[in-house]
C-alpha cells in the first residue's frame, strides 16, 4: 500500500520535497486542499495531479483519497489527467464573445497557427485550446488565459503570433 510512512511512493525525492513545501505554505491544513492541489498541479509540466501524487497528498494530509479525487473532478481548474504544457483558455462568456470581430479573429488565428480546433491538443502536447467561462477579465477582451496568466488586448494577428512565439 502507498503510505507516507512506508515511503514507497513512486515520486522522486525532489518532487516530494517540492510538494512538502507547498503543504507547509498551507500550514499542512487539509481544508486548504483546493489551494494545495492548484499549486501541486503546477509542479507538473502537464498541469495535472497524477494518481501517486494524489495518494501522497491524501496521506500527508490525513484525508481519504476519494476526497482528493472528488475535488479534482469537481473544480474546473483542477485536472486528474494530463493537459498540455500551455492550455490556452478562451473565454466563452457573452461579455467577451459579443466583441465579435476580435473574438473570431482570436479564435481563427489560434486555430490556424496551432492547427487544432477547440478541445484538441497539438501533436507534441504543448498546446490545447479550451473554452472556459468568465475569468474576470471582461474589460481586457479579447484575452486568453494560460497557466493562470491573462494575456489581454489580443486584437491583432501580430499580437497573437507574438504571444505564441513567447511560449517556449
Amino acid at each position: 500500500m502507498l503510505t507516507a510512512q512506508t515511503k514507497e511512493y513512486p515520486l522522486s525525492a525532489e518532487l516530494q520535497a517540492k510538494i512538502d513545501l507547498v503543504l507547509e505554505s498551507h500550514d499542512n491544513d487539509p481544508t486548504q486542499i483546493v489551494g494545495i492541489l492548484l499549486e501541486v498541479q503546477d509542479l507538473n509540466e502537464r498541469h495535472y495531479v497524477p494518481e501517486p501524487t494524489a495518494y501522497y497528498l491524501a496521506d500527508r494530509l490525513g484525508i481519504p483519497v476519494t476526497n482528493v479525487f472528488d475535488c479534482l473532478s469537481f473544480y474546473s481548474e483542477l485536472s486528474a489527467t494530463p493537459r498540455a504544457k500551455y492550455p490556452i483558455q478562451v473565454c466563452s462568456s457573452p461579455a467577451c464573445r459579443v466583441n465579435r470581430i476580435d473574438t473570431e479573429r482570436l479564435l481563427n488565428t489560434l486555430q490556424n497557427l496551432l492547427d487544432i480546433k477547440i478541445g484538441e491538443i497539438t501533436y507534441d502536447g504543448r498546446f490545447t485550446l479550451e473554452r472556459t467561462t468568465c475569468y474576470g477579465a471582461c474589460d481586457r477582451a479579447p484575452s486568453v488565459r494560460i497557466n493562470g496568466h491573462v494575456y489581454d488586448h489580443l486584437d491583432s494577428i501580430e499580437k497573437i503570433e507574438a504571444l505564441l512565439r513567447s511560449l517556449k
Partner: protein
C-alpha cells in the same frame, strides 16, 4: 463630463500595496483604532443609516446582517469575505483586492470586532490567484504589527485571517457551496436551514460578506459625511460598477448612486464602439436582468432600476450592440449556466439543459408555440424549486428578456 467619485477607491494608487507602513502613512488602520473604541452596536446602526446593501448581488442590508451576527449565540464566530466574483461582466472586487488590499484586511478585522468573531476567511476565486501574494503579504504584515492575532490593540479580542483558494466553480459563490469548499470538499450547495449565520463554516456561526461591502466600512467610519452626501433617495453613497461589452472604454467606475445609465455608458465607458446602437444591456452579471435602450435615462439606484425591471445586483453592466441578436445573447448566457450548474438537483440540472435545447431550436426556426410555453414554465419552476441561488436566478435573464423583447418569442410575428 465625468461623474466618477473617489470614496471607496480613494486609496487606489495612493500607496505601495506591499507595505503596511505606506498604508499607515495615508491613514491606514485609523478606522480600526476608532472602531475598537466604539460600541459595536453603534457601528451596526451607522451601517444601517447609510443603507448599505450587500454588494455581492443579494442586496441584503449590511447593518442588519452584522447586528444579527452579533446576536447569534455561539463560540468562535466566523467572518467570511466572498472574493469569488464569478458573474460575467463583474470584476470590481478584483480592483479592490489589487489596489487596496490592506483596506480589506482592516475591514475584516473591524467586522470581526463588531460581530465577535475569532476567525476570518477570505475565499478568493482561482482566477485571481495572481493576487494571492498581495493578500498573504498584507495578512502577514498586519499580524507583525499586532493588528491580527491575540489581544488586538490591547482591547482583549483575538482575530486571525486565513486565505482560501477557489477552484474555478461559479457555484462556489453561493454561501453554502463556498463554505463546503473552505472545509476542503467539493463545493456543492446544501439545503437551508440550518442557515449560515447559525451554522456555517465548520458548523460555526458565520457572517458572509462581499469584498465591496466590507471595503466600505473603514472609509465610512472615518468619513461618514462624504458618503451620506452622495447618492439619491434610498440609495445613499457610491457604488462600483463594472462595464464591459461593446463599449470603447470598459472598466470599473465608482459612481454616486443616481448617475444615469446613459452617463455611465457614454461618459465613463466611452460610449459604444463605432457609435453603434444599443441592442440590450444586462445588469448584474449572468444572472441579471436585461433592458433595451429605453433605460438610458434611468438613474442608477436600487429603486429606479427595479422599477425599470432590472436590478443593481453585482454592479456589472454588459452593453451589447445590434450586431448580437437578443436570441444569440440568450444562448451564450444559457451556455454559461448549463456549464456551471452543479447538477445536484433536478430543476436546475434538467431545466438549464432543456432551456438550452429550446433556445437552440428557436434559433434554427424549429421551435413551436408549445416550446415557448414550456420554456416559460421551466424558468418559473427553476426559480421556485431549485436548491440554491444559482438555479433560482439562472433564468432571470430569460424571463426579463421574454418581457422586454416579446417579439423574439412570438413565432407568429417577425423574429428579431
Amino acid at each position: 463630463m465625468s461623474t466618477q467619485v473617489r470614496f471607496l477607491t480613494k486609496n487606489f494608487g495612493a500607496y505601495d500595496v506591499s507595505s503596511i507602513g505606506a498604508y499607515m502613512n495615508i491613514g491606514g488602520f485609523k478606522a480600526l483604532r476608532k472602531a475598537v473604541t466604539m460600541d459595536p452596536e453603534d457601528i451596526c446602526t451607522m451601517l444601517s443609516d447609510a443603507k448599505i446593501r450587500g454588494r455581492g448581488g443579494a442586496e441584503y442590508p449590511l447593518g442588519r446582517k452584522w447586528s444579527q451576527a452579533r446576536a447569534v449565540k455561539g463560540e468562535n464566530k466566523v467572518i467570511i469575505c466572498n472574493a469569488d466574483e464569478g458573474e460575467t461582466t463583474t470584476f470590481k472586487d478584483r480592483e479592490l483586492i489589487k489596489n487596496d488590499p490592506f483596506n480589506l484586511i482592516e475591514a475584516m478585522i473591524i467586522a470581526g470586532f463588531v460581530c465577535g468573531a475569532t476567525d476570518g476567511y477570505i475565499y478568493m476565486r482561482a482566477e485571481y490567484a495572481c493576487y494571492r501574494p498581495i493578500l498573504l503579504n498584507a495578512i502577514r504584515q498586519a499580524k507583525n504589527y499586532g493588528f491580527l492575532g491575540e489581544n488586538i490593540l490591547g482591547k482583549g479580542f483575538d482575530f486571525n485571517i486565513h486565505l482560501y483558494s477557489g477552484g474555478g466553480a461559479y457555484v462556489c459563490g453561493e454561501g453554502t457551496a463556498l463554505i463546503r469548499s473552505i472545509e476542503g470538499k467539493a463545493g456543492r450547495p446544501r439545503m437551508k436551514p440550518p442557515f449560515i449565520k447559525v451554522s456555517g463554516v465548520f458548523a460555526r456561526p458565520t457572517c458572509l460578506n462581499n469584498v465591496e461591502s466590507l471595503s466600505l466600512v473603514p472609509h465610512l467610519l472615518l468619513d461618514k459625511d462624504t458618503y451620506m452626501n452622495c447618492g439619491m433617495g434610498e440609495s445613499i453613497g457610491t457604488k462600483l460598477v463594472s462595464v464591459a461589452g461593446n463599449v470603447n472604454n470598459p472598466g470599473v467606475f465608482e459612481i454616486p448612486f443616481g448617475t444615469t445609465v446613459r452617463d455611465i455608458i457614454y461618459n465613463l465607458a466611452g460610449g459604444l464602439q463605432h457609435d453603434r446602437e444599443i441592442q440590450l444591456i444586462q445588469f448584474g452579471g449572468a444572472s441579471g436582468k436585461v433592458s433595451d435602450a429605453s433605460i438610458l435615462d434611468t438613474p442608477y439606484t436600487y429603486d429606479d432600476l427595479r422599477a425599470a425591471g432590472v436590478m443593481v445586483g453585482s454592479g456589472g453592466m454588459l452593453v451589447i450592440d445590434k450586431r448580437t441578436s437578443v436570441l444569440d445573447f440568450l444562448r451564450m448566457n444559457q451556455e454559461f449556466f448549463s456549464e456551471e450548474s452543479c447538477g445536484q438537483c433536478t430543476p436546475c440540472r434538467e431545466g438549464n439543459l432543456h432551456i438550452k435545447i429550446i433556445l437552440d431550436k428557436l434559433a434554427k426556426g424549429e421551435a413551436t408555440e408549445q416550446d415557448i410555453k414550456t420554456m416559460g414554465t421551466i424558468a418559473k419552476v427553476m426559480s421556485m424549486s431549485s436548491l440554491c441561488g444559482l438555479g433560482e436566478t439562472a433564468q432571470n435573464t430569460l424571463q426579463s428578456a421574454m418581457k422586454k423583447f416579446p417579439e423574439v418569442f412570438d413565432l407568429g410575428g417577425t423574429q428579431a
